[in-house]
């Protein structure tokens, strides 16, 4: 009878300090000589991680009320616009919002500066109402003065992502980095066999309520991420060969650390936020053991031409090839480079592993699983 375990049983082992925890890279190595049946017996939890630029990220903040109070109807934080439609002193600042004075400084930088404990210049305007008579406020806020600040990222940790090349004669500047002409470089962003959603491609353990590592503290998966797509083309292992599903995540920014959350600016693109995410995957059964055993040579992704409208797919490669430093596309050898940090992802996977081994981090069974058979709508212009 094959071994199967429950969350409760694994958490009991964690409590006793005898849970066996490996990173996804370690278990991929182990799987070269061990079968899924052996792995489910030996391993309880596999830690996965990613540290990449995730544009769909942002923070909810409550500033507290001034005296007299103001109903903030236009808000700037260090010159960056923050959302004004959330009651009087709540806001949401998105990572890609930019300062009009300095386009290289955006919401992502405000978030990093807040986490770092720096003061942020806050300016807000209101029309003045009977209950909120103040029309203008200029002040400084930081992590200690605000009531709450929590990261709520609608779309993070893409399950696989494309490789970007540029076949045109001109250099182009993208969120996948600087793409040189004539396909002289190729960039990729996923942490491959260490990537969270590639180790549980059918979402058997990751769902609403999953406890995760987020930006240096504990966070949670709160919803399927936006553009949650489960019916993209898959390989023989059932793993999507292009960007598929995503997760929405939440966590207390006051407990975060700039080691794991960093602001970015991409030339001629704008700002974004590097987000560090780690997800523990319980090895509940043989099926999950098989899933977490996946290695870089078994994970395929699509090479897209970012120089051409519609970014057509021109090749398919695997992560072992990408990591080798060179891929071959239509007979042309192309140098590869990552645009997400594998060394940081490894640090996160290792940190989470140690937290679980020490009994500081327990697994949370999802309270609801994600939907299946989802696809996406496009957007038609009427102009």
């Amino acid at each position: 009878m094959p071994v199967s375990k429950t969350y409760h049983e694994i958490n009991e082992k964690i409590q006793k300090g005898n849970a066996v925890v490996l990173t996804a890279e370690e278990v991929a190595e182990m799987a070269k000589t061990a079968s899924p049946e052996e792995i489910v017996e030996k391993v309880d939890v596999v830690t996965t991680a990613t540290f990449g630029a995730m544009c769909s990220s942002g923070a909810f903040i409550n500033f507290g009320h001034s005296s007299p109070p103001i109903r903030m109807e236009k808000i700037r934080m260090n010159g960056v616009p923050a959302y004004e439609g959330l009651a009087a002193v709540d806001t949401y600042i998105g990572a890609t919002a930019c300062s009009s004075k300095n386009p290289q400084y955006g919401g992502a930088h405000v978030i990093e500066d807040l986490i770092a404990g720096k003061d942020i210049a806050l300016e807000a305007w209101g029309k003045g109402t009977d209950c909120y008579p103040r029309k203008h406020i200029k002040t400084r806020v930081n992590k200690d003065t605000v009531n709450e600040m929590f990261l709520f990222n609608p779309r993070n940790a893409y399950q696989n992502y494309n490789v970007a090349v540029n076949s045109t004669q001109n250099t182009i500047f993208t969120y996948m980095g600087t793409l040189l002409p004539n396909m002289r470089n190729a960039t990729y962003s996923t942490s491959g066999e260490l990537s969270p959603l590639l180790n549980d491609p059918e979402f058997k353990t990751i769902g609403i309520g999953t406890r995760i590592f987020l930006g240096g503290t504990t966070g949670y998966v709160v919803w399927p991420g936006t553009q949650f797509h489960t019916t993209k083309p898959k390989d023989e292992n059932g793993v999507p060969v292009t960007n598929g599903a995503t997760i929405a995540v939440i966590g207390n920014m006051k407990e975060m650390n700039t080691e794991f959350i960093r602001a970015a600016y991409y030339e001629k693109y704008g700002t974004s936020l590097f987000v560090g995410i780690g997800i523990p995957i319980p090895v509940l059964n043989v099926e999950m053991a098989r899933r977490v055993s996946i290695n870089n040579s078994q994970i395929q992704t699509s090479v897209l031409d970012y120089g051409i409208s519609g970014t057509p797919k021109i090749a398919q490669v695997n992560y072992a090839q990408l990591r080798s430093g060179e891929i071959t596309v239509n007979g042309q050898k192309i140098r590869t480079a990552p645009v997400a940090s594998l060394s940081k992802a490894r640090l996160i996977a290792d940190t989470l592993k140690k937290q679980i081994e020490k009994g500081e981090f327990f697994l949370q069974e999802p309270v609801q699983m994600f939907p299946t058979n989802t696809s996406l709508n496009g957007l038609k212009g009427t102009d």
């Binding site: 600087t178 002289r184 960039t187 600016y265 991409y266 480079a337 990552p338 940090s341 594998l342």
Partner: protein
């Protein structure tokens, strides 16, 4: 005598086009020179990234000769600033570095910066999402 390779950023004063300085380096000091980057604005200034290969004593003398002719010579690595403490090892800079100065370590996946290989193309300055590179080819000493 040991043959060494050095890279210098040379800053030429406005009136320096009348002397064949590089010819003298080759002829008098037996230095193999390779111009890796040049930017000349007539009447204003000229900047050159020069690779010098030769005996160390000759290169030192050659540099002394250039400086005696009002050419400011700065070793290349002094012209490149990289804020390594803040680097997250994302790899964006390695995507554009064709000189091979910026590479990812194949095991640790940490950034390795071999300044001696830099050709001051400056593509990394814009490619770094954290703005950690500062390369001073155009101005100053």
């Amino acid at each position: 005598m040991k043959i060494v390779k050095r890279r210098y950023v040379l800053k030429f004063p406005p009136q320096s086009g009348d002397k064949p300085l590089s010819y003298v380096l080759v002829k008098e000091y037996d230095i193999n020179i390779n111009i890796l980057k040049a930017e000349v604005i007539p009447g204003k200034r000229g900047n050159l990234l020069l690779e010098l290969i030769g005996r160390k004593s000759n290169i030192d003398k050659g540099i002394e000769y250039l400086e005696a002719n009002n050419v400011v010579c700065s070793p290349l690595d002094k012209k490149i600033k990289f804020n390594q403490d803040k680097c997250i090892n994302c790899g964006n800079c390695t995507a554009v570095c064709f000189a091979g100065a910026l590479t990812m370590h194949p095991e640790t996946w940490e950034l390795q910066f071999n300044k001696k290989e830099c050709i001051v193309c400056e593509l990394c300055v814009k490619a770094c999402p954290l703005n950690l590179f500062d390369i001073d080819f155009h101005n100053g000493n």
